[in-house]
Symmetry: C2
Subunit: 242 residues, 2 copies
Amino acid sequence: MCGTELYFFCLVVMSGANTFGQWKKQCLGKVDFSKKGSVDEDIGHVVSFLNERENYFTTSSCSGRIVLVDGVPDSPDVRKQNCSWLFVSHGKCATEDVVSALRKSSGDAVLKFEPFVLHVQCKRLEDAQLLHSVAVDSGFRNSGITVGKKGKIIMAVRSTHCLEVPLGHKGEILVSEEYICFVVSIANLKMEENLKRIDRFSQCLMAALQQEQSTCSTEGENKEKSAYKRRRRRQQRDLVRL
Amino acid sequence: MCGTELYFFCLVVMSGANTFGQWKKQCLGKVDFSKKGSVDEDIGHVVSFLNERENYFTTSSCSGRIVLVDGVPDSPDVRKQNCSWLFVSHGKCATEDVVSALRKSSGDAVLKFEPFVLHVQCKRLEDAQLLHSVAVDSGFRNSGITVGKKGKIIMAVRSTHCLEVPLGHKGEILVSEEYICFVVSIANLKMEENLKRIDRFSQCLMAALQQEQSTCSTEGENKEKSAYKRRRRRQQRDLVRL
């Protein structure tokens, strides 16, 4: 690589680093426009921990939820925009709460369990790879990386763990209360497993990033020692020449 | 970059290319150890198309399925290894088939809809990025890239589209046949949407890869034309000197 090419290469690398810093500042300065308007309690520590690291920032998150939605009848896909929420819980829930919410349904009511989801923008591909390993090792097996055209690297923590149970059609409840009780107990089991996985993820993440930091410190110290040794040898050679 | 460094850099690049070729040959030569033992009919054309391209090969796939599983009672996660399959269909299915299969249950029976899944190993990150855009544009919004430590790049085509409905507990059926009929109709709607998305994916994929190939051909032709022009100018200069 000649001198001019090296100069421009450095410029590109530096502007990439600056861009990530700018993206991070912009993102963390924004108002939270999610339905809830704030970070879920069970993952607050994970989100803060990542946002304090130079090479990461979170762009969206949900600790997991049990939700009763009222959807458009006969629609193949129950998406947020097509339905209203009759009930939501970010922890375990009680059958009575679901039953009383269900009575307010006028469309196709569906009980869903949705696990922990986290989107993290990463500075370098190796940062995303580290996060991906942590996620998969913690049980979030559907996690994956996206690399956008402008170089934006996002790691999405995702799971296959789900439940989607139709309970009503055009406002009419189709199942017994005993069945609802059974389905709620399954949803609660999944929520419990989900919270365990979040704990595992949190611990693995801290261990992995602290290990990486101490490896960099050791490498940094070794580089300094080598630079010191080279300077000493140069000084000694200069003394001999004198 | 000095001469020696350039030499080694080329070696690394070439060995990376050779490794991908070796991985591909090994993978496509293997016996299919999946439960079904063969590629699903509805995605045969997609799988062949990708395997014929130099920069891709598929490592696993499923066109989507409606499956009735018999799981371990009170388990939070119904995974393949914890349960047996009472019924499976890679297309729409009939209520009677599900009901008669359900009667054979002795554990916790769960009806599930699982959408199209495809894992593709890619030669370069940009190949994975292209495939990722095609997948997301076709409706497979949970798609993502994995980059392994040995440089293995996998793009997983995935969707959020699912259904998971408990129908029985310890061999006892908990719902009415009318409810099963309703749930089967929802599963069938999801299967129909799934097959449309596979079509969309297939068409977008072909268009995207053919466009990329013709861009490369045009660039290749332009490079040839430039090389030809330079050779002509050199010959003319040589003639003038003579």
